[in-house]
């Protein structure tokens, strides 16, 4: 059930990420009357995750509407609407169902501004409930960072907490370029403070816990887990820095370099499969940017090179606290030469 925002004495609200995203959509719809929300079941139902709850009632079926069940159609429709000067914010119901819309996304959304030499900007924010962790059916728990990051013309962002979710989504919607907004569905119902008026510092990455022995590089669903790991490691006197990248395109190379140069070691954590995963790019960047400072090879703790397995096996697939700790240990125990 969607919750109602409960205002505290200050402007800070206690919201789940679902509440924060719902509110960001509502506030953006109110501010920008060219913005449209559409997708499968986002209208009357309010979305299978209730992200669009109440929006059709408030803004009408012209601004917030259900489409037929066809992802290529949804994304292609967004292209045409953007060509007509609208700001589409479509939803794809689950990560794995971006694939049927892949051609429209890669060949059209990402290229129309280019193809038209700027005559048709594509201010489209595609919301994609992402990653695993809810023991869902097949193709409802995919981590598609790589597929998005490799596409020239797309920007990619993912929040790890309600406050960032609110502000990053509002920022994405306001941007003149297409943005893939990856929502960590396993964190939808976790609450946190949201200050709608304090948008500071959402440009790049952010250090969510400072440390000095190694940097855990993460985003979205894995940030909370990395914080748990850091807490456990601290009991053994190991101080891990946790860097929440937030933006996967563009990657905040400066923050990455600054942190890892300081700690000398990095462990990248993600749910996506290892090979050619998002961690490959981050590892390549760190290996170059911190070449002199790196005391050990960058560790990657990731999903395996297997299809996201069924619910019963999901905990074996998604990086666990233990697996991340093993990665940290490998990094710390490495001795050069």
């Amino acid at each position: 059930m969607p919750e109602t925002a409960t205002a505290t004495a200050t402007a800070t609200l206690e919201l789940s990420m679902q509440g924060a995203i719902n509110r960001a959509l509502r506030d953006s719809l109110a501010d920008d009357d060219r913005m449209l929300v559409f997708g499968e079941d986002v209208g009357v139902l309010g979305g299978v995750f209730r992200m669009t709850d109440g929006l059709q009632a408030e803004f009408g079926a012209g601004r917030v509407f259900d489409t037929p069940l066809a992802e290529s159609g949804i994304i292609g429709l967004a292209v045409g609407l953007a060509m007509g000067g609208w700001h589409p914010v479509p939803e794809v119901q689950f990560d794995g169902f971006v694939f049927p819309g892949f051609d429209q996304l890669l060949s059209q959304v990402a290229r129309m501004n280019y193809r038209s030499r700027g005559a048709f900007p594509m201010p489209i924010t595609l919301r994609v409930p992402s990653f695993g962790g809810i023991r869902a059916p097949e193709l409802h728990g995919e981590s598609l960072e790589t597929y998005f990051m490799h596409v020239p013309g797309l920007k990619v962002v993912t929040p790890s907490n309600p406050h960032d979710a609110y502000h990053l989504l509002r920022r994405a919607i306001a941007m003149p370029d297409p943005v893939i907004f990856m929502e960590p569905k396993s964190r939808y119902w976790n609450k946190g403070p949201v200050d709608p008026d304090a948008a500071a510092d959402l440009e790049g990455a952010t250090i969510v816990r400072p440390g000095r022995h190694a940097t855990l590089v993460c985003w979205g669903s894995m940030v909370h887990r990395c914080l748990q790991v850091a807490e456990l490691a601290a009991e053994d006197g190991i101080e891990l820095e946790v860097l929440d990248l937030r933006w996967l395109t563009p990657i905040d190379e400066e923050s990455l370099q600054e942190s890892v140069s300081r700690t000398g070691r990095a462990v990248v954590v993600h749910e996506a499969p290892l090979t050619a995963g998002p961690g490959a790019e981050i590892t390549a960047l760190v290996s170059r940017l911190c070449f002199r400072e790196l005391k050990s090879p960058v560790e990657r703790v990731t999903g395996y090179d297997v299809p996201t397995p069924s619910g019963d096996l999901e905990d074996e697939f998604i990086p666990s606290v233990d697996r991340i700790l093993f990665g940290v240990q490998r990094a710390l125990e490495y001795r050069r030469g």
Binding site: L45, L69, A70, F97
Partner: protein
């Protein structure tokens, strides 16, 4: 009515009733925490059973979605294996899909019909007369893949029957906002093939329409489409709350439940009496209990199964990752 028809009526009822019993059981077990999630087929039993019975188990092939428990029952799929998918043990299910001629569950709405066309084309190339039965919904009909499947089947003359369960809902979206023209069968003519609308709550009507379509495919290689008009009487899945998007009036417009209807027919025609119905319910109890028992303590899926089936011939990377997984799980 012929003896064969009488027998068909009784067999249909048996399968439909067991499908309903199992469906109800799964919804209950989901509430009890034994099953993570389940998409009920309530109301669609006549469409599912009637169509399944029209096939030849020895040569035809079923391409299901995720809601075909009635087909699985009538077809005789190993149900413990079938439930493996809904239990979260293995996405596609745990029955032997090749031996049972019943493809793994398909999570991608609309992706299956092309597989049916490919399989059917293969029959033709092999000089065999098997027919593929492709199940999908009114919502799936919107997907580009379904169009491509129908066009390919027509152009290539693949012996496939496209069987649409039009249950009037695709999750929360009603037929009128899903299907331009509101009839999937009306699309068939545009592909140069026959489209038949049938009362999907009457298993005999469904059986006949499907049987005709299967015979057409078998004898001429031509594809066709059968649209069974029915109603999704339950939620989309156990996590869904239909009260948010449809009213009780909506639901009442569905008419009499297909099981009640068939019970009436059986009683009115004297084909079954109280004793027959009581015996049927009694015979179901141990079957249901046996299935429930496997849910209470499902054999856990060993983690290394995750690596086992990625390739027929695994890469060194998979082998290494599997070893690392084992090491880390043992030492954790």
């Amino acid at each position: 009515m012929s003896d064969a028809d009488d027998e068909l009526l009784r067999r249909s009822y048996e399968h439909m009733h067991f499908a309903r019993t199992l469906d109800n059981g799964l919804v209950t077990w989901q509430r009890q925490g034994l099953v993570p999630a389940y998409p009920p087929a309530r109301g669609q039993e006549a469409a599912q059973v009637g169509s399944a019975l029209a096939l030849d188990r020895s040569k035809d092939f079923v391409f299901p979605t995720y809601r075909e428990i009635g087909v699985a029952v009538a077809w005789g799929v190993d149900l413990v294996g079938y439930l493996g998918s809904h239990l979260g043990l293995w996405h596609g299910g745990l029955w032997d899909a090749a031996r049972d001629r019943f493809a793994p569950l398909q999570a991608v709405v609309g992706a299956g019909p092309l597989h049916a066309v490919g399989w059917a084309l293969g029959q033709k190339l092999d000089g065999l007369d098997g027919v593929a039965l492709s199940y999908f919904g009114d919502g799936a009909s919107s997907q580009g893949d379904v169009h491509e499947a129908m066009n390919f089947a027509s152009v290539m003359s693949a012996p496939v029957v496209f069987f649409v369960q039009n249950n009037r809902w695709a999750l929360s979206v009603p037929l009128a906002r899903q299907v331009g023209g509101e009839s999937v069968a009306a699309r068939a003519a545009g592909y140069g093939m026959t489209g038949t609308v049938v009362d999907g709550d009457d298993p005999i009507a469904v059986y006949r329409a499907t049987h005709d379509a299967v015979e057409l495919a078998r004898s001429t290689g031509r594809p066709s489409l059968v649209e069974a008009m029915t109603y999704r009487r339950g939620p989309h899945a156990t996590s869904d709350d239909p009260g948010r998007y449809r009213s009780l009036e909506d639901e009442r417009a569905a008419g009499v439940d297909p099981l009640e209807r068939l019970e009436g027919v059986l009683r009115a025609s004297g084909l079954a009496d109280d004793a027959w119905f009581a015996a049927l319910v009694e015979a179901e109890a141990p079957r249901l209990e046996a299935l429930r028992a496997t849910l209470v303590e499902p054999a856990p899926m060993p983690g290394d199964q995750m690596f086992e089936h990625v390739f027929q011939s695994p890469t060194p990377q998979i082998t290494r990752q599997r070893a690392q997984w084992r090491e880390e799980s043992e030492h954790a």
